[in-house]
């Protein structure tokens, strides 16, 4: 692990008063052209996706594909077991009785889709995340209580410690804090 010298600024954190103020701030940060920024609030805020300019997640397509794969393998397994591998007459019905296969087909489809949704969500949003520059700020613990924060990371191309600080103050941010390694 590379040790960064103390005092190296990793980003900036600013506090806002309310969910509405946070949404308004997010819009301004988005419009200013910042890409590597995030909003932190104790609870989900409904219109935040659009305010931050987040694109629709590709997760839906991935989950949809997983559902199709799961359902077809569920159906395929039953078809293989009861017509090819071990044909057995059950209550006088045809070997391939698709009616009986629907619950399992549906079930396997849902199973694969749901696990893919969980794993895919974690993979796409980068969780669990043991480290983030905002953890250096003491006030950040309020983000799980009553604090609403915007953080802008230092590797954003537009980032400049002084100008970004001024910008955060100008959009109404309080307690603007540089995130430094101790």
């Amino acid at each position: 692990m590379i040790k960064l010298p103390a005092g190296n600024v990793l980003g900036l954190l600013a506090r806002f008063d309310s969910p509405a103020a946070l949404v308004a701030a997010a819009e301004k940060v988005r419009d200013a052209g910042y890409k590597k920024f995030d909003c932190h609030s104790p609870f989900p805020i409904h219109s935040m996706d659009a305010a931050m300019g987040l694109k629709r997640s590709p997760l839906g397509w991935i989950v949809g594909l997983a559902a199709v794969v799961g359902a077809s393998s569920g159906l395929g397994l039953q078809w293989f077991a009861s017509t090819v591998d071990y044909p057995l007459v059950i209550s006088g019905k045809p070997f391939f009785s698709f009616q009986a296969y629907v619950p399992v087909t549906f079930g396997v489809g849902v199973l694969l889709a749901a696990t893919t949704a969980l794993v895919g969500m974690l993979a796409l949003n980068g969780l669990p995340r043991p480290f983030h520059p905002v953890f250096y700020a003491e006030q950040f613990s309020k983000a799980s209580d009553d604090g609403f924060f915007v953080s802008i990371e230092a590797d954003d191309p537009l980032f400049d410690e002084e100008r970004t600080t001024q910008f955060l103050i100008s959009i109404g941010g309080g307690n603007v804090e540089a995130l430094c390694r101790d």
Binding site: H46, S47, S91, G92, K93, Q99, A100, V102, P103
Partner: protein, 392 residues
């Protein structure tokens, strides 16, 4: 404030009411002529149409009670519309009279000779007899009448009185009403539809009918919302966010209907007991097979894939088309439940149309009367502002 209130109470033209009244008069008169030409056909067409509109009214009652029970916010702007659709429900009780006067022609179990010669039916005679049938019918409508009147009365009071106690009262009524609703709707479905084929039984039947009824109600609401908006009414109140929510519910209940229909079928298919399978056999013979396929694809497969993409739920043109389609398919559904008891092959009659138009005219006349006599949204509901702003 005054301006806001008039925006919620636009002058609606009386044309819709006149069309509804005209449709009611012409439809009912022609159906009356049909009664003298072919009484049995009339009775079955009448029952199909009556159940069709009753289930839509029941769907509206469910919508309103669910809204109160869960303390919903997004649907506050739609609540009054569902309340107006409920008005017609108790009125439909009157239209059961022709059926009550001709029970033996519609329900074979009500013939004493049929009953006497049939061991299975004799065993059910404690439940399936005309006095008890009539009593139950009256009880269902009494329950619905009380629920519809209470909910509508409190809702009207709320327009002039912003006390929170009314919200609470409506919630209490809905809590008791929801239980009564489940029981009455299930037994009404058993009585009016399932007993047409009195040997046959299916315990999921009530839920199946409920699924179709709420689905049809949602489709009708989508149509009404879009129709109002295209005339500029409530266009900033009921937004595309609400369209999206309605679309999601429509999608969900399309799946729920398919789930119920398949659950009923799977168990009967699996068990393969003749007294259970006979009902599906009637519906898988000759032209009825075509009707069954139309139902499977029309009520489930097509709406499922049309409503699947997110963007579609915000496209008025597509939503209007699928709303109309689902309303048509709900009729096919009821027709498919009723008519195989009369015809061995699909046999459409002009009376199917006149009864549907006639009873529908009455039902919708009461709807438009509600729309014109009070604000289009519950103006004092504490959640109204949040509902208008709500995001899907």
């Amino acid at each position: 404030m005054e301006n806001e209130k008039t925006a919620f109470r636009p002058i609606l033209s009386g044309i819709f009411g006149m069309i509804a009244a005209g449709a009611a008069i012409v439809g009912l008169l022609l159906s009356g002529v049909g009664y003298f030409l072919d009484a049995r056909q009339f009775l079955f067409s009448w029952l199909t149409a009556l159940v069709y509109w009753t289930t839509i009214g029941l769907g509206a009652l469910f919508f309103v009670m669910l809204h109160h029970l869960v303390g919903a916010r997004w649907s506050t702007v739609l609540r009054r519309m569902a309340e107006n659709l409920m008005w017609g429900l108790p009125v439909l009780a009157v239209f059961f009279l022709p059926i009550l006067f001709h029970m033996p022609q519609a329900y074979s179990w009500s013939n004493p000779e049929v009953m006497a010669g049939d061991h299975l039916l004799t065993g059910k005679s404690g439940y399936l007899n005309v006095p008890f049938f009539t009593l139950r019918l009256a009880a269902y409508f009494l329950v619905w009448f009380v629920l519809v009147s209470l909910l509508n009365t409190y809702s009207n009071q709320q327009d002039t009185n912003s006390s929170a106690s009314l919200t609470k009262r409506m919630r209490v009524v809905s809590a008791a009403g929801m239980v009564l609703f489940a029981v009455t709707l299930s037994f009404a479905a058993f009585d009016w539809l399932m007993s047409l084929d009195a040997h046959w039984y299916s315990t999921i039947y009530g839920v199946y009918v409920f699924a179709g009824s709420f689905l049809a109600l949602l489709a009708l609401m989508v149509l009404i919302v879009l129709q109002l908006r295209s005339r500029g009414i409530l266009k900033n109140v009921i937004t595309s966010e609400h369209d999206h929510d309605l679309g999601k519910l429509l999608f969900a209940f399309t799946i729920f209907w398919g789930y119920m229909a398949f659950s009923q079928y799977l168990l009967i298919w699996y068990g393969n007991i003749p007294e259970e399978t006979v009902w599906f056999l009637h519906r898988w013979n000759g032209t009825w097979k075509t009707a069954s396929l139309v139902l499977i694809f029309g009520q489930f497969v097509v709406p499922f894939f049309v409503l699947f993409p997110q963007a579609v739920k915000r496209m008025p043109a597509v939503m209007k088309a699928i709303g109309l389609w689902i309303l048509l398919m709900h009729w096919v559904d009821i027709y498919w439940l009723v008519m195989p008891s009369l015809h061995h092959e699909v046999h459409l009659s002009w009376m199917d149309v006149t009864t549907l138009v006639g009873i529908g005219g009455v039902f919708l006349w009461f709807f438009q009367r509600g729309m014109r006599s009070r604000p289009l949204v519950p103006i004092n509901d504490p959640t109204l502002a949040g509902s208008i702003r709500s995001l899907s």
